[in-house]
Amino acid sequence: MEEVTSLESQEYFINMGPQHPSTHGVLRLLLSLDGEIIRKVEPHLGYIHRSIERMCEYDSYQQIVHLTDRMDYLSCHINNEAVCLGVEMGLEVEVPERVKVIRTIISELNRISSHQLWWGVMGMDLGAITSFLYGFRDREMITDIFEETCGARLTMNYNIPGGLMFDIHPNFQKRTKEFVEHFKKTLPEYDDLLSNNVIFRERTVGVGKISKEDAISFGCTGPTGRASGFSCDVRKHDPYSAYPQVDFKEILAEEGDCFARYKCRIDEMWESLSIIEQLIDNIPEGDYKVQTRAVIKLPAGEYYQKVETARGEFGVYIISNGAKSPYRLKFRSPGFSNLSALNKMAVGGKIADLVAIMSTIDLVIPDIDR
């Protein structure tokens, strides 16, 4: 009998998803493994492809706004804003200052609520259920404000081309200030629970690194790109709405690992709070919308508008031929580009690290599949 001189390992494949609690939806990953070491990650998409871009070619511009709610549902208001700004750009309509300020405040509230949910779910992915309850405790305050403002908790659809659907509720300023006060006290708790937790740090520091060059070439934006040192905040570089008049920092980190991405989001919540504080007492008087025609027809041409959602740069590219629906509409979703960097981050790591990496990219699958 031949003597065994070495133990050879063999690569094998496993499926992660489409029904897996840590994929935050229905993403399917085909993992090529060598023992516990990841050799390749291949995402398979399309499990929630709802043909939204195709539907947009049949819908009027007001109707398109509704569909963008259902893409990145955690930053729905910001998605709506992208389409509305694009249409306003085509119509050459200047919205009142009041609309700009209200849109900015609600965008920042939306960003905070998205990050709160991400923080809660990230803790849960790494095995801590307390963070989930803490995150939702604070998030409910924001959904209450949204509900009072426009009647919906999640898919708000508050923006319309030309302004807002209604004026803000009389309680809006008071409740927003209450929330800011409350959240300033509870946000340090987030650090106590996870950021300074030894187990949490062991699982995130140095895990899933991506360099600045790679982040740029994969098109990573949002906290995923900024954690690698890629300055890509649309609010800073290409300001829209009321962002030119507020003073805030762009959060950047150099490490590019999971903890840097985590820290970027936590710091972004502080910046969002500061933006809200600057604007909440200075909402100018005026109309809450400009009257547009009932049937909006954009002049023939191409329009591109980008905004900064909680996940990164979200772009709307409208090609119009002068009809009441766009000829073609393309969404540039941040999740899709960030997901493409997953292979680069995960290769060479353990399979358990993949869960932490996916958490810190903060994927929303309907945003990727559309």
Binding site: G25, Y47, R50, S51, M55, D69, R70, F132, R137
Partner: protein, 189 residues
């Protein structure tokens, strides 16, 4: 589907009992026993529904909100969200089902052990919702794939609406009886 007394048609039943030496009667005594057992089993089943963690889109966030601090569906015995269908009794279809996902949903349902229940949460799972017209990839309602017990309308439904849906399902479970076990696939078209 599993074989149970309710599935056997009377002709087959008579054939099976042909060689049975005794007589099968449903006397008053047996009825009393069955109803008491029914009550206990239904009470236990209705108050320990373990849901499957299954969310495809926006409704999943409201489902998470239902499970989280404020609404807390643990009050109704549904807090033990399981990641595997083999350990769960209830599947809350939270979100759109598209053509590529439909076979996966069917497989998940088939993997669940009887008795199993389905709540279609939101407009998409009920009828296709906002994605009904001009789409080539959306299944117009999850009941094209698996039988649904309770439909919860909304886009997305509020957590209170989902809680009400769970309570309606509990009501439905409490009306079941062992002498005529339910077969969800039987009435499903």
């Amino acid at each position: 589907m599993g074989m149970n007394a309710g599935n056997i048609d009377p002709q087959q039943r008579a054939e099976l009992l042909k060689d049975f030496p005794g007589e099968v009667k449903s006397g008053p005594g047996s009825n009393i026993v069955v109803t008491s057992v029914d009550g206990i089993i239904n009470w236990a089943r209705a108050n320990s529904l373990w849901p499957l963690v299954f969310g495809t889109s926006c409704c999943a966030i409201e489902m998470m909100a239902t499970g989280a601090s404020r609404h807390d569906w643990a009050r109704f015995g549904t807090e033990v969200a399981r990641a595997t269908p083999r350990q769960s009794d209830l599947i809350v279809i939270a979100g759109t089902i598209v053509n590529k996902m439909a076979p996966v949903l069917k497989r998940l349902y088939d993997q669940m052990a009887d008795p199993k229940y389905v709540i279609a949460m939101g407009a998409c799972a009920t009828s296709g919702g906002p994605f009904y017209y001009n789409t080539y990839s959306v299944v117009k309602g999850a009941d094209h794939v698996i039988p649904v017990d309770v439909y919860v309308p909304g886009c997305p439904p509020r957590p209170e609406a989902l809680l009400y849906g769970i309570m309606q399902l509990q009501k439905k479970i409490k009306g079941e009886t062992l002498s005529d076990p339910r077969d969800p696939m039987k009435d499903w078209v």
